[in-house]
Symmetry: C2
Subunit: 724 residues, 2 copies
């Protein structure tokens, strides 16, 4: 699987202009060989046709983290350059063809809710809500990673169509033909030896990211776009969104109830009704429901709670900035609100001036940016025009990214970190501190999305909104508490964590674990930022995990399967959290489940017992806790004591550090002030937490600062050896 | 509803160049007013941007039937010309905006399987199989008809996106804004006053068809594209398709079983295995299964049976025409077969020379053209190239039309009519003698498709393939026997009409009615050809039918309906057949059903009893026959005697002519040789069948030739007054 392990330590610079290219050759229908240029260590670019005016590079939050990339070192170009082709057809459509091994598996292509392996399906990538149409999704990132240890980004903001392992050119080496009437093994989608992609554009850049492992590919991709977001520490506490028509009084009563009932809470989210008008939006506080917003936010701050505000981009004539914004809006309305063109600096300034004054300056911590993805019949049409001349297509593919960019820069100027939600994103967005969410609500699909998000440089929250049964309520809460953002979204249901009394205990336990995991999770986000490693990851990114699609052969059925197509059986229901933990949630209806363990010994998180080694185990259903498994030598730093708010992490906080297995090991612990961007000026520290086996068979532990200048905030470290 | 009833009898000619147009005006974002030119009576054209190289006009089977159009007379332009706008955006995307009344209902947009009224949804029209993706379907005709009595064709073969009543421009008159948090009546899709549409192209022609009634609109559209096909008489008998690996012996045994068991049969369809190789195809007879094709087809002809051959376009290297075709194939394979570019005359000639020699000359009657619609992951990709320079997009939108054109012309040269099946079609295809079919298999959806087909100039067969229960088996058989093509497609199942013994009687009765209806149905197809009236029609085309969408208000549900969207409740489960009959099939699970009766009295076909007048009636379930209702004064010519084959219509055939109701009436009966194109040289006859009330209250009947030169073929006419 990992053919090309090349380690090198030379440091590249971003302007490195690469190797001499072979003379371009041409195929029978005029495709030309691509010319590759290395633009960073293990990252190459090729341009087909004209350079596009705007790319994902312009939409990124930060410059490439060259230091992190340099540490990863150089690598060989991962496939045969002679077998890479491009073409601009009739001056209107650009296509690219790259080689693909016959058994290679293709992952990524954005926030997908079905399957992992994309091979054999066609994806027309388009920003959209999730309605089940292949390729249309909240983050249609045109980036794929293969199990052969490399990745490719098509750096275009156009609608792009992907054919991973689909479609054979007549000048390719074709697989054997079978007569469908008489021969077994006829394929509805014949095996192909290429990934092809195309879009209606006069040119396109293609960027290749080397491994050697799939995780290294993702790390290079993330680092190239600035590294993942280091979210504020409070962002890793529990979030709760109140009903849409809530008022300052009802919200205050609700948050006090959390404290009274002993449930964790860090962030309170206000839904549309915080505004004077919504759908379209005023962005101004409702004088009826929030007559004194400054006092309200301040009272939340006093409780160590952050306030997050729902918005969508569509401006009401009742907004105080409507008249100022009008010259910068597009031809069509959305919900009868005008649509700002945020490619224009003046439009961004009108918005951020308003938000700073009315929201940030009184303590608002961030936003939930809704409906930047689009459902066709409420969004602008594909022929809408915008004052900047940006096409409706480009605008739709990038609106969420531009909103994230605008909000992120606004907070950065105040040297205050934010964490929020967004419903539309795309390539290059790795560094934005936003989690994606959806109206879609299938629990298994939510977990699949969590896995796929990690392959596309975005974060995803499988938010809990409601449940049909007590059991489902607990299982969904467990999942979201072990995800990038732990949130109950009660905008429509008005539910509270304690709404189902019978399972109060299990719900409280899941939420409290969220807070106890803070040292481990915060470190995982720091690694996302500095090293590009996603804090929550698909199993295919885990070394020692053997990814098999295990497609089931199709059975001919004149009504249900007339082409006898195979049924994909990817493992999509388990994932990695941080360095060492495998999460395998249960779903409603489960009586047991399989867990696929990568190579090495794995231990039950709660008991420390060995559960298996590089095998598929079956575990019986239990409701009390979400199943967690720790790899051999895993070291897990937790808060020593239960807490309901992440402010429990303060100077002198006691840690419990768990060790699993019979071998030594080490991990890192990250620390900084948790709220500002001072870490960009080196105001952070890394600690090594190590366990070494001594000569007499006992374990020796150590905690050593390895780098950084930030003061030590944690106090006593209590080691707990779970496997004895 | 019908505001603009204008009758005029002046005869237009196709080169009429129209009226002086008002000076173009411009909207805020650069849309320009359209300039309309009348190109035929009640038909106008406007061009936005550049003229496209190929349009639906080039794909039509025949020239406009100017005689039929002249008879319809002139009409006023149906909406405000000043309110029609177009634009080419950035030189890449062309958009059009036309006015739409606030309560106007929009029908059509091709072979759709859901709903009738298209208002409020976005359709990205694209040729495809039916996978439930809005706008993707076997015949994505960009033509709509409104209940205000006009229609519009966007005469482009590009992928086009339609926004019927969706999307408000900011310079439109907007409906009242509502605050979603506090006000009732907020709309997820705000009412709009326009139809907008757009495609990636540098220009587009728009064609408007006047009414005054919706049926007149459809008639003008069909006549403009040559009128509907006058199918051969045998095409209206029963069709049976045999299992894919059938041989001459097994087919012969099977057809003899039809005769032995007294089941009707006119056409036998051979599936892929008749060929030496299939998927990809050789188009050559299998030497194993059909060693003597000439003798086989001849033996079928002796039995008065026609032979129809399944094909798809993708050529196997094993085909005898493979090497000849190679220079004319596209860049990509489909199922490893090469894809001929039939825009090239040489490619068409290679195919038709082969087919004439090997199929037509030995008596083959037609084809089933499969898989010209496409499923993305087996068709050519959107960047495939073709030797003619035709784009992959244009090729996909028109492949089915070009195949129909090629086959139709081939039969026309032999002065032999054909009737076949095709899985992809599009605008302008009215005159092609092909019924569309689908792998999709929902019975209700099949009936909805039958209705929608009539709004887009195509024919549809709700073929029966299998059924879960005896009851469903009968109900599906009844439906298909009252459709444009009565066919059992047993390619995968191997079923026969008698496969479910318990319901042999009901199945036989439905099939025998099909044959008895031959005079009525053949006349309906003649009217399709000469007058443009579809033989099977949506209720919205019936005068006196009040079409209400009756959308149900949506209920907010955080998981299932977060935008509280309305649920569409169109009537899609009944349709008109010929002049006077309303068909209201039952569906599995029905215990009763509603039937919406247009204005006037309606009578039960079987009993002659009055059932209602312009009202919704409820009928209890019965299995014996499909519910049929006849309008006041309806006259229905049938074969007098049961028959199993349409060859029963021969010189001297006895007719039974039924009359329904208490009023007189009249209808037409068409006659010709049933198989050749001699009718194009006036070798046909029309008869008036009339019933008049006499002074003493009895009925007087008459049968008079009204036009034409063909000999009278029918013999005795037995009148039957059903309502007594």
């Amino acid at each position: 699987m990992l053919k090309r392990f090349v380690v090198a330590f030379c440091v590249f610079i971003v302007t490195f202009t690469g190797l001499a290219q072979a003379q371009a050759s041409t195929t029978i229908d005029g495709m030309e060989q691509l010319a590759w240029e290395e633009i960073a260590p293990g990252i190459w670019s090729a341009q087909v046709g004209e350079a596009e005016a705007s790319t994902f590079r312009d939409l990124a939050a930060a410059k490439p983290r060259m230091e992190g990339l340099a540490k990863m070192g150089a690598a060989e170009f991962p496939f045969d350059k002679n077998d890479t082709m491009g073409q601009v057809i009739n001056g209107t459509r650009t296509s690219v063809r790259l080689p693909l091994g016959l058994d290679e598996q293709v992952y990524g292509l954005g926030m997908q809710f079905r399957n992992m392996n994309r091979r054999g399906e066609v994806y027309h990538l388009r920003t959209d809500h999730y309605g089940g149409i292949l390729g249309r999704t909240h983050a249609p990132t045109p980036f794929y990673v293969t199990n052969d240890g490399y990745g490719v980004l098509f750096n275009t903001t156009k609608w792009i169509s992907f054919y991973p392992g689909v479609g054979n050119r007549k000048d390719s080496t074709l697989p054997p033909r079978k007569d469908r009437t008489t021969e077994a093994g006829w394929q509805a989608v014949p095996t192909s030896d290429a990934v092809e992609a195309s879009a209606n554009t006069t040119g396109m850049e293609v960027i290749v990211f080397a491994g050697p492992t799939p995780l290294d590919v993702v790390r290079r991709y993330n680092l190239y776009f600035g590294g993942g977001p280091l979210v504020p520490r409070w962002g890793l506490g529990f979030w709760h969104r109140v009903p849409t028509a809530a008022s300052d009084e009802s919200v205050t009563a609700e948050v006090d109830e959390f404290a009274k009932r002993d449930f964790p809470l860090d962030v309170i989210g206000l839904e549309p009704g915080w505004q004077s008008k919504a759908y379209p939006c005023s962005f101004d506080w409702s004088p009826v429901r929030f007559p004194d917003p400054k006092n309200f936010v301040s009272s939340m701050t006093d409780r160590n709670l952050k306030v997050n505000l729902w918005v969508n981009p569509y401006i009401s004539p009742d907004s105080t900035i409507f008249e100022a914004m009008r010259p910068y809006t597009g031809s069509h309305t959305v919900w009868l609100g005008e649509v700002p063109d945020y490619t224009i600096p003046e439009a961004r300034k009108i918005l951020t001036d308003h938000h700073k004054k009315n929201h940030l300056d009184i303590g608002v911590s961030g936003y939930k940016i809704d409906e930047v993805d689009g459902i066709d019949n409420w969004l602008w049409p594909d022929h809408a025009t915008f004052p900047s001349g940006t096409s409706a297509e480009d605008m739709r593919q990038t609106y969420g990214s531009r909103m994230q960019q605008t909000i992120t820069e606004m907070f950065h100027e105040k040297n205050t970190r934010t964490y929020g939600l967004v419903r539309g994103s795309n390539g290059g967005a790795s560094a934005y501190p936003f989690a994606i969410y959806s109206d879609y609500y299938n629990h298994k699909g939510f977990v699949t999305a969590l896995c796929n998000a990690s392959l596309s440089g975005v974060l995803w929250t499988p938010e809990i909104r409601s449940a049909g049964t007590d059991k489902e309520w607990v299982l969904r809460m467990q999942t979201v508490c072990f995800s990038p953002m732990a949130m109950l979204n009660a905008w429509a249901s008005g539910l509270k964590p304690w709404s189902r009394e019978e399972v109060d205990t299990e719900i409280r336990e899941a939420m409290k674990w969220r807070v106890r995991f803070l040292p481990y999770l915060y470190t995982a986000f720091a690694k996302y930022h500095f090293e590009g490693t996603p804090p929550f990851r698909a199993m295919v990114l885990e070394p020692g995990y053997i990814a098999n699609s295990n497609d089931e052969a199709g059975v001919l059925d004149g009504e249900k399967n007339p082409y006898a197509e195979a049924v994909r059986k990817d493992v999509t229901d388990q994932y990695m959290m941080g360095d060492s933990i495998l999460v395998a949630p249960f779903f409603s209806g489960d009586r047991r489940r399989n867990v696929v363990l990568p190579q090495g010994n794995w231990y039950d998180f709660y008991t420390g017992k060995l559960v298996g080694n590089g095998e598929v185990i079956e575990i019986p259903f239990y409701l009390k806790q979400i199943p967690l498994f720790v790899k051999e030598g895993g070291i897990i730093p937790l808060l020593k004591d239960d807490a309901n708010n992440t402010s429990a992490w303060q100077d002198g906080v006691a840690l419990e550090v768990r060790h699993y297995g019979s071998e030594g090991g080490s991990t890192s612990l990250y620390d900084d002030d948790g709220t500002t961007f001072d870490y960009e000026k080196d105001a952070y520290s890394w600690y090594d937490l190590s366990v070494a086996k001594t000569d007499n068979g006992t374990f020796a532990t150590s905690v050593n600062k390895s780098s950084g200048t930030y003061r030590k905030t944690f106090g006593k470290v209590e080691w707990k050896f779970m496997t004895r």
